[in-house]
């Protein structure tokens, strides 16, 4: 960074304050993975059927919308539905009481029905269902309004023509029900006779898309398979998080003690930099919104051990330079410069493996890869800039021989 250590110090102090602020501000919003707070993770796989021999991305869009709708319908906040690969969805539901009920609810094909109001203004079946539906699309009218266009199968077109002929004179609504829940009830303006029509009504692109995905999902004759289920009871999660945090603190303490024992004053400085590192990394985790899992915490703790490696390389090198008769300042500078290539190369190999883990891995593995990678990245800053600044400042202030040879 800058040549003047005081400027660097200012930057570091600002970063520390910002990190502290982030951590304090968000301390109640730490996102815990299911393995820590308890919950269920299901991997759903869309299986092709004779009607849908190949699962297309659009089919997955529909499926995802439907699953999201169902998960949200369970009334448990903070559920996540994610795409995984070409034909899978990962559903994470925290604190679910009955995972089997969730599994039953999510693992079935959606039911799309069109209903009409009877004399008692109750919704009744019309016999038109998802099977009669071919597809829906988002479109715009000339006025720029978003609308939903849909097409019916030949048999469906006939049923729909009869239905709309009946409803159009009174502009009665057609109730669109998905999984027995009303998603829309557009009024019928005119009979739809040729098997294709449109729904209008103050849609935004998002709301139109949502309706389209729901309609398509109802028409989607794919099978849903629960290929993975992982349920962690809340008791197990609570016990794990305490243990991991405790282990992390012990690990941090051991590393601090080791550095001070081996490198005395400079070790202490590296230890301070390590504390800065821990704080910065944690603040970044919170800013990025990293979900903490057990494996993720393990990755973080591992990165604490790796973060001081750069300092060890630098200090050992500094010792050599001092023995070769260089001045303190020069020895520190040369120590940093000469150690840099190996620090860079070794961190790169770790980042390579993190990248692979991120690309190939699932859930827990991804969490580990992300925390380790962020940790390695931040450690390059803390071990190099922060330590160097601290060392120079101490050197300037007290004339303390920062580079004095210490017992190996």
């Amino acid at each position: 960074m800058f040549k003047n250590p005081k400027v660097n110090l200012l930057i570091i102090v600002v970063l520390i304050m910002a990190s502290l602020w982030t951590v304090v501000k968000d301390k109640d919003n730490i996102r815990l993975g299911l393995d820590l707070k308890g919950g269920t993770r299901l991997t759903l796989q869309a299986e092709p059927t004779p009607d849908v021999p190949k699962i297309r991305p659009a089919d997955m869009d529909s499926l995802q919308t439907v699953i999201e709708r169902r998960v949200n319908g369970m009334g448990i906040g903070e559920s996540v539905v994610q795409r995984a690969g070409e034909n899978r969805l990962i559903v994470e539901i925290p604190g679910v009481k009955d995972p089997d009920e969730a599994k039953r609810l999510l693992g079935r094909v959606g039911k799309l029905e069109f209903k009409k109001l009877d004399a008692q203004r109750q919704w009744v079946n019309t016999g038109v269902s998802g099977k009669d539906f071919t597809k829906a699309d988002v479109a715009t009218q000339q006025s720029g309004e978003w609308i939903v266009q849909f097409t019916l199968s030949p048999s469906g077109a006939k049923k729909f023509a009869d239905l709309t002929r009946e409803l159009a004179p009174t502009r009665a609504p057609i109730g669109i029900f998905f999984d027995d829940e009303q998603v829309s009830a557009p009024a019928v303006n005119e009979p739809i006779l040729d098997g294709s029509g449109m729904i209008e009504g103050n849609f935004t692109h998002e709301t139109a898309k949502e309706l389209v995905d729901t309609l398509n999902a109802g028409a989607l004759p794919v099978d849903i398979d629960v290929v993975e289920e992982n349920t962690i009871g809340p008791l197990l999660g609570q016990s794990s998080i305490k243990q991991s945090l405790f282990a992390g603190l012990i690990g941090l303490g051991l590393v601090l003690a080791f550095m001070i024992l081996c490198y005395r004053m400079r070790g202490f400085v590296a230890g301070m930099a390590l504390l800065v590192y821990t704080l910065l990394t944690f603040a970044i985790f919170m800013t990025v919104g990293v979900t903490f899992t057990l494996a993720g915490i393990a990755g973080f703790i591992l990165s604490i051990g790796m973060a001081v490696d750069a300092n060890i390389l630098i200090f050992e090198r500094t010792k050599e330079e001092l023995r070769a008769g260089r001045s303190k300042w020069k020895a520190v500078e040369v120590g940093f410069d000469r150690a840099f290539p190996s620090i860079f190369d070794s961190n790169t190999t770790t980042l390579i493996t993190c990248l692979l883990l991120w690309v190939m891995g699932t859930g827990a593995v991804k969490g580990f890869a992300l925390t380790l990678a962020i940790g390695v990245g931040v450690s390059m800053f803390s071990a190099i800039t922060v330590t160097r600044t601290f060392l120079h400042l101490i050197d300037n202030a007290s004339g303390e021989p920062t580079g004095a040879p210490v017992k190996a």
Binding site: D100, E228, L235, L236, S239, S244, G305, T349, T353, F368
Partner: protein
Amino acid sequence: MSKQITPETTTTVNEGPLNLYKYRWLFIGISLLFLLPGIYYIAANMLDPEIRAPLKLGIDFKGGTLLEYGFSKHVSQPDVEKIKHVFDEHGYAGSVVQIQEPRVGINKKAVEIGAERTAPSQAEAPTMTGDASAEKAGAQTATVTTNQHEKQPTGEIASIVSVRAKHMQGQVDQEILKDLESQYGHITVLQKNSIGPALAKELLSNGLLALVLAYILIVGYLTYRFQFDFAVCAVVALLHDTVFLLGMFAMFGRLFNTEVDSLFITSVLTVIGFSVHDTIVVFDRIRENLKIYYTKKLPFVTIMNMSVNQTLTRSINTSLTVLLTMLALYFFGGETTRDFVLAIIIGVAAGTYSSIFNASVMLAMWRNRAAAPQALKPATA
């Protein structure tokens, strides 16, 4: 730790206390000797009709269902057969039922809840089968176990039982739970992990692909930063670490029933990424020394010996800090990541050895053979 060596400015070169090249066969021999048990167990696993893989695969890679129950009543060895029988009745014959060691946090809560009641006979407490769970849990902290002896858990969760079964679908596990509860009273499902065989196969091939890619990318990167022969030697050292780690887990699989899962592949990849660190530090020094002593016409072997000795302290210290954090996690961290952490510890230890005693030695042997007369070629990146 070794005596510190200063870089020499005169032509007389101090190579350092450790003459690696002289004892090269000894160091390589030690490596091979340490690999042998692992290789034996890998072969034994391959030949075992029950396993047919180098390591005992967990449900992540084989498909299946893992259930962990918290029993409110204390269960002991005779109950294992009864629990097994319940699974048999529902068509899951051959399920593996194990009683787990009491666990801090879970049983501790149980202690608090059941504190008023008097503890049942202590002799009953760790009736263990000497199999996987016993051994694995035995490696937990001593404090935990002593604590448990003082306060035998009697409350909500008295015993933890794990069951590994074939992949369960539908409501079977609910029915099994009901049957178990009719015999044992309230049972808390601590965790359930179920993976279909097709997904498992995919996870396994993804994991193996990641391993192969890691090797290729690291050889590529090292070739780019150093030279091809540096990269090859680094990777042979890596291969040593990987085989040692796999061998150890093949052995744990046979002796303690340890199974490998996605986290194991993660730890192997982490070890691959980390154990080249030390090798890189030595190679970086060799590269630098080759430039410094270019005019002095020193044999490569001398440069290599000198470089390893100069970087010995840092190779060991950098690994030590990582080991310290991992040991803390092993002894004080959760059960879930214990095997994962153990794998990293073993891998890092093996990696430190191979970086110091194998990688550079092999490089020197290679260079000696390839270009005996003009051993000096500056290794620029």
